[in-house]
Amino acid sequence: MSRRHRRKKKRGSEEVKLNMAAMLDMAFQLLTFFILTFRPSPIEGQIDLNLPPPVAVAQMRPIQKVDQGDSTGASLPGFGTLVITVHASDDGELSSLVLGERPLLRGKMRPNDAAALDRELQNIFQLSGGTFDAIQLHIDPKLNYETFLTLMDVCARQKTEDGKKIEKLSFIELKPK
């Protein structure tokens, strides 16, 4: 008993000294690497689209009647595609937007224009009585990406009368004049 006790006491008095300096050096090197390579990226959002290859569509004529809330005027059978034609100026900004055959916007796109287009489209899809279930954008090749994305965003938000999202969304490039 006494021998074991003595041995324990002896071991307890020995101090193990770890050399922390080397570990600290390495840790600081790692820290320096991470600080130098750290670059917080800005938060990016996205708009998801399912885009099968576009097909040519015939433009529906009675859009004016539909737009005025005359759902009975939409005498076309079945579903249809709403065509939005977008022209751009030489600097890539919007110059005109035609909804079906009716001019809606003119000149550079302002913040309120997207909301105005949204309202118009909501009216059309709510009041068309299921006439339209797809949107096709005919876009000027000069149009810049920002305006294009704004338009796509507005179109992608539209819902049909029964509350389903418009899934048939496509675009084609207008031939340059």
Partner: protein, 154 residues
């Protein structure tokens, strides 16, 4: 020789708290580091769309990030690459992920989602070329990237 005049006492600072703190910092930086951002060209000025939603990765395992600069060129890891060659090779890789029965079907939808990060000034003509080339090769799912607000770094 003032240095030698001590009684042999050595100053041994307790390094443990410092080491703790350093390891905590390292852990933080290791967790926030994002090697995927290397595939993104952070010099691009993305458009600003208020309603752009954060990235949802549920169900989609595979992404193909395409950076398109102002001139409409495809930039991959900082290098301009030819669109058709690059997309063909990526489509081939993506096709291998399809079930064996569908691999030889040229109209099969590829399981990869194409993430387009384009400069806000790029023209629709250049962008549409990339869309069309992707569609020709079987890509159907697209995500268009945008900032929710102005990038504070610019």
């Amino acid at each position: 020789m003032s240095g030698g005049s001590g009684d042999g006492n050595t100053a041994e600072p307790d390094l443990t708290p410092m080491l703790d703190m350093v390891f905590q910092l390292i852990t933080f930086f290791m967790l926030v580091i994002n090697f995927k951002s290397a595939s993104m060209d952070l010099s691009l000025k993305l458009p600003i769309i208020g309603s752009a939603r954060p990235v949802e990765v549920q169900g989609i395992e595979d992404f193909l990030v395409l950076n398109v600069n102002k001139e409409g060129q495809l930039v991959i890891y900082g290098t301009v690459v030819p669109v058709d060659q690059y997309l063909s090779s990526e489509a081939r890789v993506s096709r291998m992920k399809l079930p064996p029965a569908e691999r030889n079907n040229p109209n099969a939808e590829l399981p990869t989602s194409v993430v387009i990060r384009a400069d806000r000034a790029v023209s629709f003509k250049n962008l549409n070329y990339i869309f069309t080339e992707c569609q020709k090769r079987g890509f159907r799912k697209f995500s268009l990237k945008a900032f929710n607000m102005e990038d504070p770094a610019t």
